[in-house]
């Protein structure tokens, strides 16, 4: 068994279903995450279970339309019940959601047992983690070229058709109502004054989330729906600050996650010659891994960037402080300082890096553990001390601090890009401002 082989019969439809789910949920999830409703997706995907079973018990078919209707109604009932419990019962939102969806889910589990008595194959497990692997295309064409023919359409499983409709619908929904969704998400009051209802947007969004859950329950299961609703949008949220690019990024991430997750589900176990694992579960895990990578390595908000930025700042502050220390020593007639002296004053700060960078820029000379200013270093150091003393003057004159309380604040202000107002010639302690 080779790890990476694409078999049209075995892989085409499951992978399509996974990608379509990813696209549908990925795009809708952006607005859930923005409106802090991520868990509404979770609640709905749990509580569509009784809707599905009741629809099934009434219609006694697994026809997609009946199922869809039942689940969509269950989804809206969930939203309405959560609102109701929140308002009438004055229950905290999280708790209200927890009460509603767990009770509805329990009802669903009970009803499934009821359905099982009628010898019906309706499995709660399948609702949770789907049956992607059963979307097999028997007598599939051998070559990729054979797929592009008319009778392929006749073989497409109805789960995939439903997902495709849902995906197109969600993309159209978001594309057409992007402006309205954006305003409703960021500023509901503005939406009202613009003449459309933020509440209506909310309901529409919930209908689509319920629809996405239903369309995908049979193929991929609700756990993947939750993962895809939240993770790609959250990942994209860490990568960009604009909603439009966030939506596009989340789409890309969702598709990437689906493909990698699906491949990993069969390829990784195959390395140890084991059978493949649940593709839906594997995609959820990959979604999590992608998110962790983004948290660590996102260019603007990532941990690495933040650590590097902080380190660079600490280094430049230390460099300024070294220059200032040398300048002050020169004022009292000592034109060089021992490295040991600096080490004493710079405990816990990146002294070595700052010294190296200053001497690279030709600001200081480091010779045999003694440090002195160069010609260009002298003016840079004077500039730092000038800023410090000007700030001290400002703090006394304008802010009204006592002269002996200004040093610590000025020590921080001197590193700012913003310049203190110039003019005075001596600082509050009587020292000359360079």
């Amino acid at each position: 068994m080779t790890p990476l082989r694409f078999d049209i019969g075995l892989d085409l439809f499951p992978l399509t279903a996974a990608v379509l789910t990813a696209v549908t949920c990925g795009i809708l999830g952006n607005f859930l995450v923005l409106r802090r409703l991520s868990l509404m997706g979770d609640a709905i995907s749990h509580s569509v279970l009784p809707g599905l079973v009741i629809a099934f018990l009434i219609a006694s078919t697994r026809s997609p339309l009946a199922m869809f209707g039942g689940a969509a109604i269950a989804g809206l009932v969930t939203v309405a019940l959560v609102e109701l419990v929140k308002r009438l019962g004055r229950v905290e939102p999280g708790a209200a959601m927890g009460v509603v969806f767990s009770v509805l889910f329990a009802l669903g589990v009970l009803l499934i047992e009821q359905a099982a008595l009628r010898h019906v194959d309706l499995d709660a497990d399948c609702v949770l983690h789907g049956q992607l692997e059963t979307l097999v295309w028997y007598d599939a064409p051998e070559s990729v070229g054979g797929v592009f023919s008319r009778d392929t359409l006749a073989h497409v499983p109805r789960q995939v058709t439903l997902l495709a409709i849902m995906a197109v619908g969600s993309i159209a929904f978001v594309a057409l109502l992007f402006k309205e969704l954006r305003i409703a998400a960021f500023d509901p009051a503005l939406a009202t004054t613009q003449g459309f209802s933020a509440g209506l947007m909310h309901v529409l969004l919930m209908i689509f989330v319920a629809g996405a859950t239903v369309a995908s329950f049979e193929a991929v299961g609700s756990i993947l729906v939750i993962a895809m609703l939240i993770c790609p949008a959250a990942t994209a949220r860490l990568l960009t600050d604009r909603l439009r690019s966030q939506v596009l990024a989340s789409l890309g991430i969702a598709v990437f996650t689906a493909i990698v997750g699906y491949t990993a589900a069969s390829a990784l176990p195959a390395l140890w010659e084991k059978d493949s694992v649940s593709a839906a579960g594997s995609m959820a895990v990959v979604a999590g891994v992608v998110l962790v990578v983004a948290i660590i390595a996102s260019p603007r908000h990532g941990l690495v960037t933040r650590v590097l930025r902080r380190r660079a700042l600490a280094e430049s502050v230390a460099r300024d402080d070294i220059l200032a220390a040398l300048h002050r020593a020169a004022e009292s007639g000592r034109f060089e300082l021992a490295r040991a002296e600096l080490e004493r004053d710079f405990v816990g700060r990146p002294l070595a890096a700052a010294l190296a960078s200053a001497s690279r820029s030709g600001l200081i000379d480091v010779r045999a553990a003694r440090v002195s200013l160069t010609e260009s270093g002298r003016s840079a150091a004077a500039a730092v001390v000038r800023r410090h003393r000007l700030w001290e003057h400002y703090l006394v004159d304008e802010v009204g601090l006592a002269p002996d309380h200004t040093h610590a604040t000025a020590e921080q202000l001197e590193h700012l890009v913003a310049q203190p107002p110039s003019g005075p010639v001596t600082d509050p302690h009587g020292r000359v401002i360079p």
């Binding site: 991520s38 767990s102 329990a106 099982a116 939750i226 579960g281």
Partner: protein
């Protein structure tokens, strides 16, 4: 009104189930029978009594060792979950427990696999629960890390941990199902719970865990309350807030893990959330809240497992949660002060009083001591009253002795009465306002004027804008406030 569906839908499967259970009993009863119609008729008569006896036997723990184990185990679990759930509710962490319970699944599967590699029995409960605890704690830490180091909000953090961990658990489950040599039947039970398969040692373990959790909570209740209600004060007062918080979260983890076997990963969260929220309807104080939540939790566990023992093929977890859900609905509707019915009733009473106030006030403003039809009509139209409400307002006022009915024989008002043919059937009386009614009207007019004056002189509201807001406040001014207003306005007047 939309509150009804859950209740009715909760009720319907149960009735359904009850009739079906009758059916199955009927089958049993008729099995050994001779099969003729007569015998069957007798059996049918006995079935009801037999079923009732079975119910009572199960309720009183007389129906066999295994059933009793399950009932005692789930009741204890409910008790502990109720107590600990209060902490989660007060810390606003209800949904964190959801993520936590989902996050235990990968722990269970990894523990199963690890135990297999180490040559231990993968199905032993302590090993599985240890794994569950580890990943559960990792999940909670994960949420905290996401909140601290990214700009994601709490809902997204919870959703991420929940879905990713549960996804990992499902990967583990499918690995076990397809690749592991040993059977995986014990593992699957953790998703939906299988109370019926609990052994004696399982129940003992759960019982000890539950009772320990309850004991710790009660011992540290003062500290927990402090952190729940005023964290900053606790910090300033020198309490180790982080440690106390950690203790609370650990209790939640422990109880969640203990509940996995009985009600399953997905529904254990209901055991933590629902009793606490349901108890919250009935009381405003912490100690009664904890006791009540414990009682509701224990009752759900007890009745839920009794029901599922009586009815074949009913998963205990789901029934327990639905029992708790029904108790929640009862509380939400019927609790004395916070219940929906009580709130609606209070609002209605207030509306009735305000309507009466308006009538008397209107009459007072016109300097009338009778309530004529047109005056009534006017006030009713402005207030948007229905006919029934109008009748109720009049009836209330009469009962309070504010107005009394005067027969039409007086004649002087015949033209006025002619204007209202619709009500002429009974010979619409007009009403005379009694001295008590006049006094009430006068007091309202005075309150209105006082508050209006206050708003104009102190709150700088324009005189043309005052009337509407005052219309609402005038009804709720207390005597103390009125005299304060009088004093304030008098001094201001004097200063001028």
């Amino acid at each position: 009104m939309t509150a009804l569906p859950p209740q009715s839908s909760v009720a319907s499967p149960c009735c359904d189930v009850a009739t079906r259970a009758h059916g199955s009993l009927l089958a049993q009863a008729s099995d050994p029978g001779v099969g003729t119609g007569n015998v069957l008729g007798n059996a049918l008569g006995n079935v009801r009594g037999e079923f009732l006896r079975e119910v009572i036997d199960t309720l009183l723990l007389r129906s066999g060792f295994n059933t009793n184990l399950v009932i005692i185990g789930t009741a204890l679990l409910g008790l502990a979950a109720g107590v600990v759930g209060v902490l989660a509710l007060l810390r606003k962490r209800s949904l964190t427990t959801d993520a936590l319970s989902h996050a235990t699944l990968p722990g269970i599967t990894s523990a199963f696999l690890a135990a297999g590699w180490l040559g231990l029995d993968g199905r032993s409960l302590p090993i599985l629960l240890l794994g569950a605890t580890i990943t559960g704690v990792l999940g909670v830490i994960g949420i905290q890390l996401l909140l601290r180091h990214t700009r994601l909000r709490e809902d997204a953090a919870i959703g991420i941990v929940l879905s990713v961990f549960f996804g990992a658990g499902i990967v583990g489950l499918s690995w076990i199902q397809r690749n592991a040599a040993t059977g995986s039947s014990g593992i699957n039970a953790f998703i939906y719970g299988q109370a019926a398969t609990m052994s004696r040692s399982d129940v003992l373990l759960l019982g000890v865990i539950a009772l320990l959790a309850v004991a710790v909570t009660l011992l540290l209740l003062k500290e927990f309350a402090l952190v729940c209600f005023d964290e900053s004060f606790a910090k300033v007062d020198g309490w180790p807030v982080t440690a106390i918080d950690l203790a609370m979260m650990s209790l939640v983890v422990v109880v969640t893990v203990a509940g996995l076997k009985a009600v399953g990963v997905i529904l254990v969260v209901a055991m933590l959330i629902i009793p606490a929220v349901a108890a919250r309807f009935w009381t405003e104080r912490l100690v009664p809240l904890v006791l009540l939540a414990a009682a509701i939790g224990a009752a759900s566990g007890y009745f839920g497992s009794v029901l599922s023992a009586l009815l074949p093929r009913k998963p205990a977890g789901a029934i327990i949660v639905l029992t708790a859900g029904s108790l929640f609905v009862v509380g939400m509707l019927a609790a004395p002060t916070r219940g929906v019915i009580a709130v609606a009733w209070r609002r209605f009473r207030l509306r009735l009083r305000i309507a009466g106030d308006h009538l008397l006030e209107a009459a007072q403003e016109r300097r009338e001591t009778t309530l004529g039809a047109d005056a009534l009509d006017h006030v009713a139209r402005v207030g948007g009253w229905s006919t029934a409400f109008r009748a109720l307002v009049l009836w209330t006022l009469r009962r309070q002795g504010m107005i009394e009915r005067v027969r039409r024989a007086l004649g002087g008002h015949s033209s006025e009465l002619g204007a209202e043919p619709a009500a002429s059937g009974r010979g619409l009386a007009h009403f005379r306002i009694t001295s008590a009614g006049v006094a009430r009207g006068a007091r309202l007019v005075r309150n209105h004027a006082l508050w209006e004056q206050y708003l104009i002189s102190y709150a700088d509201v324009a005189p043309t804008h005052v009337d509407w807001s005052v219309d609402q406040v005038e009804h709720v001014l207390s005597d103390a406030l009125v005299s304060e207003l009088e004093a304030a306005l008098r001094t201001r007047e004097a200063r001028r």
